[in-house]
Each structure stands twice: as C-alpha cells, then as structure tokens.
Assembly symmetry: D2
C-alpha cells in the first residue's frame, strides 16, 4: 500500500481535529491509522495520521501549498512523509557487532523500511558482515588527534549519500556537538543501561557493583548532553546474584538489539514525535 | 472535570472522522482524549472520544436526537457516558478475599469511578470486610438444588439497586446462561490462568503439572461459553522449579488482583469496546 | 513443618560443603532446601540450608556450641533461625495506606510468617485499618523540632515489643542515623523508583519529566546514605505518553505493594544475605 | 577454566549431600557452582555441581568407577560432562532464517559452547548464511512420499558427525517418532506460542482470533506427542488491538530467537534436568 503520513505538533485549540479531518475528507483520503494525543500540562496537540494514496485526489506535490493555510492558522510544526520514499539510513559501528547483525537481518527481511547506503566504522572488524549484506563499508579510524578530520570525512560521506538517519549501533566514539547539531532528532543511540541510571561509561559494571535486580537498555536521540536526549524506548531484564558482569553483558546484548531496533523502526515509520525532551510513540 | 465519553463502532467509511469532529466542534467541545482504531480485515471503525463539558453548548439531554442523524448515516453502534453519572457495580465473592480487598481499597482511594451498592456472596466469610468499607453484604448460599432460586434472589437485588456492572471477584459458582444473558458485556470475571491455556477447573495445579515457566491471569467478559468471553486484560509472572502449587497460588493472587482491577477500571472509564469476541482497550 | 534455617557467609575454601553436609547428616537432618552461591570475585561462600526438625537428633538449644568449631574453622558469619519462633515486625506508615493494606492482608492470610505487635505512624489516618486487623496503633507526630524525642518514643516502643524488623510502608520521614544503626539490615524501605535512578524526593514527577518509558519501585535495607542501602527487590511497569504524573503514581502503587511485600517475605523467611552492599536472595 | 559438571537425579535420602560433598572433597575439587533441588511431592533429589579441574586429583578417565559405589548406593541417574569436550550440535531449518541467524551469531561470539558440524534443511534458502559462517549445509527435500528416505539420510549425516544435540530452528517438518526416539531429550524445538495454548499449526493466527493480550514462545524437548515435551523456557510480549497477524509474527520472531537460544545454551552448559515431563533449570 502506498501511503502518506502526516505528523503534527501545535498548541491545542478547538477545531483542530475538524480542520484536519475535513481537509483529508475533501481530497477523499482513505485513512488507515490515526492517533492523537493532548498534553494538557503543556497544552499541546500531537497527531499522526496515515492514509492510503490510492483514491487521494490531491497530488502530493501540491500537498504543502494546500495544507499551508491550516498549518498556519493553528501554528503547526508538521511534516508529511511518503511510504514510497524510503529513508536513507547510515549505521555507525565499532567492534561489537550484535546490534549491526540484528539491524542488517531485519533490514533484509523487510522489517525496516529504509535504504542503507553505507556503514561507517572506526575499525575494520565488521567489514565481512557488511559485505555479506552487500552494503559499502567505510573504515574511518578515530583518535584524539584526528577527530575533527574523521568527522569531516564522515560528514562528507553522509552528505554524498543523502543520509536521513544515523544509527549508532554500539559506536564507541562520542560525536561532537557540531556533528549532532547537523542531525537533530536524526541520530539514534543505544545506551546499555536503564537511563537515567548509569549514564556514561561502563554501565554494566556499575549495575553489578550497585546490586540492582534488573538491567536495562535505552534508545534515544542524541543531543548535546551525553545520554540525555529524548528517550524512544527502554526495556529491562531480571538478573540474579548468580550472575557476574560477563553474564550481565551477555544478557544486555539481547536488550540492546531489541530496544535499538524498535526505536529505528518507529523512527522509519514516522511514529515518533519529540517535544520537551520526550517522545510520543504513535504505535 | 465533568466529561462526556462517546464510544462508537461501525463499518469504516470515508468521512466518518470528519463527521464526528465537525459535530463536536459545532457545539464547542473541548476534546481531552481521542483514540480510534480501524480493523482493516473486518472493515470496522472504532472510536472513543472524551470531552470536557464546561464549554459544550449542547445540553446532554439533547445529545441523542442531535447525534442520531450521523449515527444513522454511518450505521453506528454507539453510546455516550457522563462522568457525573457513576456506574453502579456489584461484587460477587466466595471465600477467597484477596480480589475483594483489592477492589474495595481501590474504590475507597478513588481509583474506581463507581458506586458499590452491594456485595453478594454464597458464604458469610467476607462480611466483616464489607462492613469495614460500609457496603451492604448479602449472603445467598448456592447449591445444586437451589441454584435457580438463588439466582432469582440475586437478580432481584441487582434490579433493586440498578446495577450496571457485575464483578466476579473469585466467585466460585458458574452463573447460568439466563443470568449472564441479562448482562451482556457487563459481567467481568477473573480466571486464574493465561487463557486459553488451562481454562476450567484447577488451573494452577494443571500449570504445575505441565511444567510451564510462567503463570498467568485473565480478566474477561462472561459469555455463554465458560472462560471463552472477550479478554480484557492478561498478565503473567515467571515461576521456577523451586515452586510448588501453593507457591503458584500465592504468586497468582497478585496477578489476579492486578489483572481484575485493570479490567474493572477500564470498563468503568468506558475504555473497552467489544467486537468479534475481542476487546479494544482505548488506554 | 517445624524447620531450622542456617545462613552462612564466609571466605570460600575447599571442604566447606562437606563439613556442613557432614554436620547435618551426623544429627540426621532431613534437608528440605539448600541453596549456595560462590562470589568468585570476592572469594565468598554464601549458603542457606533449611531442614525439617522432626528427626533431628541435636537439641536446638545445643546447636550453637555444636556448630561453633566448624564456624570458627571457616571464619563464618552465620545465624540459625527456627520457624517456630516468628519474627516480630513493626510497620511505620504515614498517610498513604496502600502498602499497609497490602501487608496486613498478606499477614492475615498467612503469607507473612511474623507477629505484628504494633504500627507506628506520624498521622492518625490509618488507625481504623489497624483496628480492623486488631493491631495496636501508635500515633507519634514528627516535626523538625521534636524529631529526637519522637524517635526516642519510637525506640522505646520497639524495645518494649522486642521488634526484630521494621518495615517503612511509605513512611514519609527520614530516620536518623542513630536510629537505623540500631537495626542494621533490619529496616526495610520501599522507594518509588527504579534505583539508582530518581533517588530522593518526587521520583514519579522526575520520571515523568525525563520521559522514561518504564517506572519502577525498589525495596532495600536502610543504611546511613539515603536510598543507597542493599537492594532486595525491584520491578518495573511500562508507561506511555498518554499517562500523566497521577497515572504514574497510581500505577506505581501496584509496584510498591508487590516489591515491598516480596522483600518483607524473603526477609522473614531468612532468604536474604547481605554482602558488599548487595543482597543474595535464596529463593 | 577447565571444569567438570555432574548432574544427578535420584530418590531423596538422608546422607546424599554429605556423600557427594565428601567424594568431591576427597579429590580436592574446587567447586564453582552448586545447585540442588528437592521435589517433595515426588521425593526426588536433583543436583548440579561444577568444579574446576585444576587441582582435582582424580583422573576424569577414572571418574566413573570411582563414583559408581555412591551412585549405586543412592540409585542415581547421573552423568558427568567436561567443558573441554564441546557438544556437537546440528541445526535443522526450513525457510525462516531468523532463529538460524541468531544461533550462528551467538555461536561465533562464543555464547554457545559447542561445535556445529552441519546444518540440514529441506530448502536451499539459508545456504548463503551457512556459508558465511563456514558451516556445511545439506539440502534434503522432504515430501509426503520421501519422508522415510529423507530421515534416513538425515540420520546418516547425524551419525557420521557424531551429533549430540539437534536444534529445530523453525524447521517446518514433524519428525517421526522413530527419529526422536533416537535422540531423547536431545532434540530442542521452538514453538511460536505460549504452550499449552495454541499448540499445533498457525498459533499466531489463532492468538489473533482469540484476542489474547500477550503472545508467547516456548522451547521444549521433542517427544512423541506434538508440542507436549518438557518445557525448557517460555517468554511473552504484550500486544494491542492495533496489531494485525503480521505484526504478531514480527514481534514473535524476537521471542522465538531469545527463547530458543536460552534453551540451547542451558542445554549445552548442562543446566537442564528432566523429570516427570518437566525441566529443572540450574541457572
């Protein structure tokens, strides 16, 4: 099915639902999914609506001018996405390959509606895997001394391939603020703890030392502040006193894979809206 | 806040959302919650919309005639509920009191928006608890021989107190078909297994014998077929080989309490729609 | 069944298991539960063994001198507990009564093997509940000015009633270090977050502000440092963007009840061993 | 670390623990893991003990005659396994490759202590994947007409490669009783439902039709009766009314991968004991 998805965020006002519903009805939209949410404390209206384009009488090239009066009237932040235009996703990875294996398998089995034009790594280890899936693999070593140059190289590749979304699949380098500022809400990271607990380095070791009874993983958009961006998804698993740090790391890999892949899929399906450093997931 | 909630189920057709949104906008509704769902296989449209009545310009007494043309045009099954009119709930219980204790505490702390005019039991054991919460307690013993009379007595009490919803809080008698037919989608039961596994008697014993690794509980609407009605909520908890049947029963009580109370609250908040022997939960 | 339970913690050395097993076999112990754990990083041996006393040929009055040579040889920290001697538990509560209701119901239904000689509160609100369960209720108001006196009164009551364990069932006062030092590993608190995230005040509000996707609760032994004692149990529940702070608080109550009651039961059944600010749960 | 693991199952009798502990102490065993369980209803004693072989003074070639007197005295069923002798595992697969991808990645990253000398499939689809991991891949088509011959071929391959364990990673053929009888408790299957619910065909479709609120997956040993063997592991995930059968299948894949891999790992680490059509997991 060929669909369009509209994501809207604006101050909540009467008449909003009617205005949007009437607009879509005017052009004979066959709606397949609607979800909306009102944040009463912030007086915000947030909506996702997806419709089948088969009978839609408005040419999508003309959508923006046609919708603009409504968007202006209600001071909307909005975007529209077409299922026919798959997002272009780059994966950054270091040596740990479990998230990469998982993303590539989901990609090939059709779970992730995207193109993956390239994988970037600071190590060559994952290259055979990339080759197996037929995806160009670029090794760009990163050290204290060459960080700026390395990022320049990375940026050039991203620009060249028209990348929409960057996924840090256990990429062990911190991106500079300049870098992430270029991709607001378009860099997804997986952190191996239940944030805000154990942000920063060595979360499994610290979870072990603290004696927690559950460990977690968190996928989030990357912002200026380390491990502080809007959380997209989290999950946890129970551990016992029988387990050592290695066991936590092993169990954690399963969480990381699943939590990261959910976030990536939701992003690619235009199910995520960000406000106030939080996310709404229109699932 | 004084609100009205509209629940709608009808064949999915273009213009539905617009018709409803326009109707509400016409009377200046301040919408606080909307959720809708399309079942594409059955071509069904299901919706819950709740609005603040403060600025609503249509007298709710006049709602039905005003909304009827839209309802007719789209062949809706619908109902509207007012938060000012709390549902009247009867609890049936036998000797196990853990669900009763839980419901009464939630009721008193304001979690359950309802009145509880009476508790009916086939045993006197729970009477002190009912008295503590100030709720009339009726003992109606049930045996093979007097079942019809007992149900007649129960029905008379329910009618007398204008009961909307019956909650079977581990009530150990099977209600007759005649009885439940009088309260379609208005009798909620808690079954102590993860249905459809272990329907019928002694589910914990059978779960133990089968060697499952998780046990569950299921709340559902009661229908003609035992343990086969629309499922409202389910949950599970992990067990280990260290646990015996008594331990399963103990752990299961926590599930039963929580799973039943969620179902009851969702029903009372008009969040449940039933179709095709399933439920939609507008949470 | 009348049982004895031995809890042991000591440096791990060869021959430990054999020494303990031989000792118990010598006196014809009928073992019903054994669990042991080795922490290889700290070279610690931790064990719980419970045996039926029916055929046990050693008088339990003579247990300590009989076991002492083994305990000395292996530098054990150890204790033995008899199921015939139920621990004496005091509950501290403020105004929120959900954990209290839960503990009292479990107590009366036999889930918690203890005596509850008294409940202490800084408010009179929960008194009717205590009276319903037939448990003496002492109101000791606490303010900045009278804290020392109030604690003196509390301590006097605890001493008078021979209290073994203090449970803080959402008691909204911080106990002084002097107080908790008198009851090492014998004061259990419930904190309404997934520690170490959101320690301190208003965890639900902060969880809401951070936009987490799961909320949690943590039961732990109280130590000098606020919310930093050994964790006994934790659990979490999923939340969505649809939920506000009130909803988090409501959902959290279910977690608090369950997480606290598990910790209390495990403690009363002598299933908890503490080392390195962590717990081993011999379940 | 080079270890030996002893698994014991026998009638529970006094002196058992002492006899085993003394035996191991006699030969200077450095125990790294002990777990034991008594099933009081069946009067069974079940134990797993693992020890470091570094200082062990008994040659493992001589273990059986040395241990035999104790084993005989207590009527033990027992086996001893050496970590130095990795089990040889065959994977059977059809077209769905998600479990295979997962097992092979875990195998290569060292999570699964085994050799994988071959993969057998009734379709050629997964061959590139097998080649990527360097594992011989045998295509043996199966139809109604050639089933006996196909199994004969499979058996010959298994015998030739000295296979200890067969993992059915979504293998879509039912093995004959003769076949499974040759590998008692050595064939692990993944069933895509929470057994005993939805045993047999099309479990996701039936789960969808029944309107359950959670879906599950179950790994179990294969026996004569379809989907009725001893359960090794189960897990579930929540679904909502928003999800269709395709979504259940997608979510279920994550469950299948994790539930199967846990069972395989526990089996390979000699953590599973079977009795009364149940499993004890010494985790």
């Amino acid at each position: 099915m060929n669909t369009a998805t509209l994501l809207i965020s604006c101050p909540d006002r009467k008449g909003l639902s009617a205005a949007i519903a009437n607009f879509l009805y005017t052009y004979n939209a066959n709606i397949v999914h609607v979800d909306q949410h009102q944040d009463t404390t912030e007086n915000l209206f947030l909506m996702r609506v997806e419709w089948d384009l088969t009978d839609f009488t408005l040419d999508m090239e003309a959508f923006t001018p046609a919708f603009a009066p409504i968007a202006d009237r209600f001071q909307m932040e909005w975007k529209v996405a077409l299922s026919s235009r798959r997002q272009r996703m780059a994966i950054f990875v270091s040596k740990y390959d479990h998230c990469l294996v998982d993303l590539l398998h989901r990609y090939r089995s059709g779970e992730l509606p995207c193109e993956i034009p390239l994988i970037i790594s600071n190590h060559p280890d994952c290259e055979p895997l990339a080759r197996f899936y037929g995806i160009p693999f670029h090794v760009i070593p990163v050290s204290k001394d060459n960080k700026a140059e390395a990022e320049a190289q990375q940026k050039a590749l991203l620009a060249e391939h028209g990348i929409d979304l960057i996924v840090l699949a256990r990429y062990m380098q911190v991106l500079s603020h300049d870098f992430t500022a270029d991709y607001p809400q378009r860099v997804i990271n997986i952190h191996h703890s239940f944030l805000p607990a154990f942000d920063g380095a060595k979360p499994y070791h610290r979870a072990f030392a603290r004696g927690v009874k559950l460990i977690g993983a968190t996928s989030h958009y990357v912002t200026e502040v380390l491990d502080d961006g809007p959380i997209i998804e989290q999950d946890v698993i129970r551990i016992s006193h029988r387990e050592d740090v290695d066991s936590l790391i092993r169990k954690g890999r399963d969480l990381e894979r699943i939590v990261l892949s959910r976030a990536v899929r939701w992003h690619l399906e235009n199910r995520v809206l960000v406000y106030s450093n939080k996310t709404v997931i229109f699932s």
